[in-house]
Amino acid sequence: MATNQLPLAKKDARLYMAFMYVTYTALLVGGLMGLLQTLARSGKYTLPFNINYYTILTVHGVILGLVLTTFFIIGFQFSLMEKTVGISDKQRKVAWLSFWVMVTGTIMAAITILIGEASVLYTFYAPLRAHPAFYFGLAFVIIGSWIAAFVNFRQLYVWKKAHKGQKSPLLAFMVTINMLMWFIATIGVATSVIIQFIPWSLGYAETINVLLSRTLFWYFGHPLVYFWLLPAYMAWYAIIPKIIGGKLFSDPLARLAFILLLLFSIPVGFHHQLTEPGIDPTWKFIQVVLTFMVIIPSLMTAFSIFATFEITGRKKGYKSLFGWFKKLPWKDVRFLAPFIGMAAFIPGGAGGIVNASHQMNALVHNTIWITGHFHLTAATTVILTFFGITYWLVPHLTGRRLTPRLNKLGIIQTFVWTVGMTIMSGAMHIQGLLGGPRRSNFSEYAGGEQVATWINYQIAQTVGGTILFIGILLMVYIFIQLTFFAPRGVEEFPIAEEEKNAEPTPKILENWYLWIGITIALILFAYTIPVFDILKHSPPGSPPFDWPIGRG
């Protein structure tokens, strides 16, 4: 498509690049914290300058889990919206507002964490009390992302009005689904922050309902991970086919998968709370069933992607059973990095099924197996796909080219990442099965054989973590090259098209009232009774605790 070759107007590119600058700064800072954590956990190295382990753990989680992901996703999605439905001057202004609100919130939270006033990890942990600026900062990040969401909704709305009767472009539809899910999910955490945490941290409320705060957090906490995953799926469905020289597998199926992800990502938060004492086990089980539903669209996605690979290969004339597979563009990093991400999602997804399996969760809950799990899913599947997007998105925005040398560096980066993560995540999975806890500084506990085994795996994690940090340095180098130094030129913005004879997309897939209605109905079904129970059977609330996190 000709428009995909066209560079964006400078004023637009600057907006999307602003999000990318924050993304890659976050990668460097958050990655360094990760390296320090694995070093500290080896027991052979003490953190310099009296830095507290739990401060860097909080920085690592907040900066990579919330900041990097949200900034990359919103910047990438804005670029997708512009390419498919366009952006007006007014929308661009509001988009900048969303950026600055998010940046303000990030800086507030970051400073509070770095001066040691918020070592509460990114899951908050009431009744540990952080400085109010931490909660205000996070509230700003969320509000900023809402502004972005409403700009996206408006972009699609304006396009639909100008194109009566036409189906919306697939990528614009997907962005809208993701932002809808994000908005509905963040209402939970925003409620908790604004109604519970802020008044309590300021001293206006004496106590906090801990279980309610955790329930509201996890109502948001699971869709949060799908908010990271869906942009990767966008690339897999609608961008990778173009990169390998193929067409969309099926527009209606892609839309159906995204709708199912919207429906089943939210009413499932209890599977993060399976070992908590105050929730009825029957309701836990009901949410386990709903959790399993969300696997179905991922199965559909897996099929679509491999079908695209095969169809494209066969069209190019590769006849043998797996000839099409061998001939995939392995030397194109725009394909290779996301492909490794897809492959990592096979063990990652299987591990997720284990985690969500009701009583089986007790085997792994809060062990470092879980950390290994999300370093496969978020830190491999999602991040390698985001890197894969970066290789063409950044030069497209800066009017430069991905040179063969940078492409090669990217391939090396992908291998470094794969090796580092296999070692680190593998060691975490095994140590977790042996009972090793997550979120913990180095400790010999009471000594003994069990603990000695754990420490060996922690040393393996240090090796993996160090390799990963080299991968991060490489990626940041590539980003700087693509931004400032690569030769000028035109890099394609790859968007796959439908086959000419593709079947029409049923209108019902764009019936927003219907899908939002079902989403809300499912949430009400999964949460009304248990939340009512939690409120009715509330114990006396908890006063704030400052000293356990080292606050004066």
Partner: protein, 167 residues
């Protein structure tokens, strides 16, 4: 909407596996009664001693019937209170004979904690205002590390104990 024949097979296979997994989990949960721990019993976190099980003299291990034990524990940052021995020293190790049935009961006086007897199925969240319980048979001998596996503050990794199962 058209579904490719192979995709239908793939999805039917996938969904059938999910249903099978759920049936197994559901069977274990509702027929065998192995739910994750959830007792929905509340307590005043600022006055846990008011509950009989968590009075200082009732902490630690108690034999309640032949081969049946109850272990009462109060968690606080950054310690598990297993009670005191005859000399008045804090107990750090719980000793049980192999094959005994042990009910662990735990609550917290302050923040959220975890309680895992590593190498067994005993793995619970401990939240202020709630009592966590898990009963299990200690089938294997050895020393099992008890760890706080839920973040509770900067001394989190120094919160531990030991369960020793002897012949």
């Amino acid at each position: 909407m058209h579904l490719h024949k192979y995709e239908k097979i793939w999805l039917i296979f996938g969904m059938a596996s999910l249903v099978l997994f759920l049936l197994i989990i559901g069977f274990a949960a509702f027929w065998k009664g192995t739910h994750p721990q959830s007792h929905i019993e509340t307590i005043d976190p600022q006055n846990v001693e008011a509950h009989d099980a968590f009075k200082p003299e009732n902490l630690g291990i108690r034999e309640v019937a032949d081969g049946k034990y109850i272990v009462n524990i109060v968690a606080s940052a950054f310690n598990y209170d297993f009670g005191k021995d005859k000399e008045g020293n804090a107990i750090k190790t719980i000793r049980v004979p192999k094959g005994s049935t042990v009910l662990y009961q735990i609550t917290t006086k302050d923040v959220v904690h975890g309680f895992q007897v590593a190498g067994t199925n005993v793995n619970m969240m401990v939240e202020p205002g709630h009592i966590s319980r898990y009963e299990t048979v200690m089938k294997n001998t050895g020393e099992f590390t008890v760890v706080c596996n839920e973040y509770c503050g900067i001394g989190h990794h120094q919160m531990f104990g030991t369960v020793e199962v002897y012949e």
